[in-house]
Amino acid sequence: MKIDFRLKEELRKYLEKKINEKKQIVKVISVYPLTEAEINQLRKSLPMLSERKMVNIVDKSIIGGLIIKFDSQEIDLSILGQLKNFKNLLIK
């Protein structure tokens, strides 16, 4: 099937836009919903993310702490992550 060139271009632009939007989003995973004050504090602590949109995701399985995801990076500050690191240390 041949796709029309203009349609193709539009599709590409749309996808690029979507990707950029997604790139702009910072995901913060926590055990309970973060308050506005906490989010603001977080923005202050991470100046490079201050302009971006922050989305708070609640996940009780991380036990405690936070996980911050942006672009292709992940900052794991959760208790579950620490425990897993500790377990890996034990195994080694």
Binding site: Y32, Q41, S45, I63, I75, L77, L83, K87, L90, I91
Partner: protein, 165 residues
């Protein structure tokens, strides 16, 4: 002569008779018989010669047979010795190979055992880690209330800049 009692006629007749008898005897009896005897004698000599030749040949054959038997015996002994040597060599080779194979199997088994041991140790460590993690997780889930969670988060946010640097 007559006075001596000899009858000339009779004597003559007897002489003739004797001569005839002599010739006839010689021609028809003595000579063939003699020839027969000679032939027999000759045959006997030939027979003896043949016998002697046969005897000689028999001796020669016996000697040859003896030599052949000795030669065969020697060859047999040599073959036997050679075969024994070959068997011994083969036995040694097989023994060496068996030893090598046994050593190889031993080493492989050792290696396998060592690997299995390590695998088992790793598995035990893993299980222990999982168990410890699970226990700690459950404990922390029960222990951490919302206040504590908030304190932890505050602490993390406060130290975030330091951590990232």
């Amino acid at each position: 002569m007559e006075s001596l009692g000899i009858d000339i006629k009779l004597l003559l007749a007897q002489i003739i008779n004797f001569t005839l008898f002599f010739f006839i005897f010689k021609k028809f009896i003595a000579t063939p018989f003699s020839n027969f005897l000679n032939e027999e004698k000759q045959k006997e000599i030939e027979k003896n010669e043949l016998l002697e030749k046969a005897k000689k040949r028999e001796e020669e054959l016996a000697l040859e047979e003896k030599k052949m038997r000795e030669k065969l015996q020697k060859e047999y002994e040599q073959s036997l010795r050679q075969m024994k040597e070959e068997i011994e060599e083969l036995r040694k080779k097989m023994l060496d190979q068996a030893k090598r194979e046994a050593e190889e199997i031993k080493n492989k088994s050792k290696l396998y055992l060592e690997e299995e041991k390590q695998k088992l140790a790793k598995e035990i460590k893993n299980k222990l880690g999982d168990l410890s993690l699970s226990i700690t997780e459950n404990f922390l889930k029960e222990f951490l209330n919302e206040d504590l969670q908030k304190k932890i988060n505050q602490n993390i946010i406060k130290n975030l800049t330091k951590k990232l640097n």
